[in-house]
Amino acid sequence: MSASSRNLTLLALLLLAVLPGALWLAGGGYGFRVATVCAIFAILGVSMQLITGVAGLLSLGHAAFYGVGAYTAAKLGTWLGWPFLLTLPAAGLVTMLAGLLVAVPTMRLVSIYFAVATLGLGQMIYVTLLNWVGFTRGPLGIPGIPGISILGLDLSSAAGTYMVTAVVALFSIAVAHRVAHSYHGTALRALREDDQCAAAMGLDVPRLKLEVFAVSAFLAGLAGALWAHSTGFVSPTDFRFSESILILAMVVVGGLGSIPGAVLGAVLLALLPEALRFAGDVRNIVVGLVMFSCILFLPRGLLGEIETLRVLRRIGEGWRAPDGRLLGWR
């Protein structure tokens, strides 16, 4: 067993056995629901991390991909009655297509121009969801989305939904990790540092951008499908600009360029508003203050890219020579 798959197994054990056990003991449904939301945002976080952290393309429209995934799953699940096992990949694929459509016109753009173009495209998708009443039912949203069930096994309870979401989140983290720490990921990092230089070194910059967009959008689509099936109702307000900003905040608080950082940031910012319920009306002020102090004291993130790489190497990720010597990243 390679170190990498050992680490993944450990993570899987934590998410699928230890945490559910603890939640079970702590009282059930509410904990599972909050954990489900955290897992969905962890998927969104790693998905955005690929574009914004690894490839360095600041995206301000990520909620739109999330929305496209959710609406695809909702439409297929209610209209055509597709089961979850089909709507999940379908949502990913449709969103991937949407991601490619977004990527093509924005390919030439760099830095803030790219950010604003994604903002514009994200808003266009939101306005379409809101106003295309004939197809998306507009503000009425889509109710009655069936809960998660796999091959006849009903998993729509809070705990079952969490288990499925956690499995998909694990898959997403593994995919993002493989993409980020491969030759491909190294190329993306080169592109982030200097795209002209990267092109001069022979990297096919537009193709790299398209590929990372496709993967990222696919993952966001999965998150959308999970949201749709776990909530049972989708409406355009769930995919506003402020959601995009929230996902961006998660990635930055966690640490740009670091996949574990994205997960940590997502869990932190999704959990805080719930954990601070005792604070009453001021809890959102506290969330803002926590976010601010995180950024102030650790501007490179709670788990910054460099620190993460160091830790990952120590726990055996990366490419080793036959004698066990660490060579670098595959």
Binding site: G138, P139, T231, S235, D281
Partner: protein, 368 residues
């Protein structure tokens, strides 16, 4: 199976009624206490406080009733978590809220599974009560309000109407309810304009409407948007009458819009603070005294929703369970509230209400 909650619930119910009786009956109220809709949530909490204190003071049932408030920002993500939290809590027998439809709808799915009765004071989504037999609402449905205003306008000799609605689920039902009825009565809808939530620039829409020269304009929106429309129609010198849904009734509307701008507005309403009914007068006096602000139509709706819930608890006592509470809610007949008598249809669980007419005259809301 994985559901530990149902086990807990069973163990809580089985030890018998004797134990349950010593504990207060608990309700959950999910509402936006922070965020951009917090002004509504704060009003709901005020109304609920009044209703609850009056109920407990009257000692209708031997144990007190308490309400747990949870803030959701009217955001679907938080609403589902809170709904799950309420469902987990075996003490909670009924839930009030949420405000916005996206939050109420998302929460409703959880309550349907937990078989926990939910009564919303504002959820206007056409599919809301269809989610399960546990959803109730205390609103004036547009299937009723639309025809009411349509008949009223037609009676005033209006033949052609332009409709402006907010682009949300409620606005959609406003347009549908009014347009169908008005066209059925032989009238013409010159156009139906939806605007995105948050927009306060209506000059473009109004100019577009001016070109069509309708006899009247019908507004389906909340009072803050309404104030902006009224200001801007005055600027553009639109002199045709404006009709509006009951949601525009807010004592500050005239101040917000400005008296000359609001003058002449026709409103349907289910709640009128000048109503001589002693219940209404008691509510208005008490609300104004306690919170130093007059109740608006949202306050009134929440007040009635809480009272309907409390009434059902009183009928279900001494054995208040989720299932019994649901049945008692469904059996609500002619509940005398400040927004008129409320009856839940036993099949559809839709409320029926009586409406009144109101106009802004000389800078005051005047009953017609």
């Amino acid at each position: 199976m994985l559901d530990r909650r149902s086990l807990l619930l069973a163990s809580a119910v089985l030890p018998g009624a004797a134990l349950a009786q010593s504990r207060p009956v608990t309700l959950g109220y999910m509402l936006p206490l922070t965020g951009e809709f917090s002004q509504y949530g704060i009003r709901f909490r005020q109304s609920a406080t009044l209703a609850l204190e009056a109920f407990n003071a009257a000692r209708r049932i031997p144990v007190p009733v308490q309400i747990l408030y949870e803030d959701t920002r009217s955001d679907a993500r938080e609403a589902t978590s809170v709904a799950q939290k309420f469902s987990d809590n075996a003490e909670i027998v009924g839930v009030l809220g949420d405000f916005s439809s996206s939050a109420s709808m998302a929460a409703a799915q959880v309550f349907a599974r937990a078989q926990l009765p939910q009564l919303s004071q504002t959820a206007s989504h056409p599919d809301f009560v269809g989610i399960s037999r546990f959803q109730f609402r205390n609103i004036t449905t547009q299937a009723y309000e639309g025809p009411f205003v349509a008949r009223w306008a037609a009676g005033n000799g209006v033949k052609r109407v332009a409709v402006i609605c907010i682009q949300n689920d409620w606005g959609q039902s406003v347009a549908q309810g009014f347009n169908t009825a008005f066209q059925a009565g032989g009238g013409e809808i010159t156009s139906t304009e939806f605007f995105n939530p948050g927009n306060r620039e209506f000059r473009s829409i109004l100019t577009k409407i001016q070109r069509e020269r309708p006899d009247a304009v019908y507004l389906g929106m909340f009072y803050e948007d309404g104030a902006a429309v009224l200001q801007q129609r005055r600027q553009l010198a639109m002199r045709m009458p404006f009709y509006a849904t009951s949601s525009l009734y807010e004592p500050r509307l005239i101040e917000l819009a400005g008296a000359p701008a609001a003058e002449g507005l026709f409103l349907a309403t289910s709640f009128m603070p000048t109503n001589p009914d002693p219940r209404v007068q008691a509510f208005v006096t008490e609300h104004t005294r306690r919170f130093n602000m007059e109740p608006n139509s949202f306050s009134a709706q929440a007040f009635d929703a809480v009272n309907i819930m409390l009434e059902a608890i009183a009928r279900a006592a001494p054995d208040v369970t989720r299932a019994r509470l649901r049945d008692e809610l469904a059996a609500t007949r002619d509940f005398p509230g400040v927004t008129g008598a409320t009856t839940f249809d036993p099949q559809t669980r839709e409320p029926s209400k009586t409406l009144a007419r109101m106009q802004v005259r000389d800078g005051r809301f005047t009953a017609l």
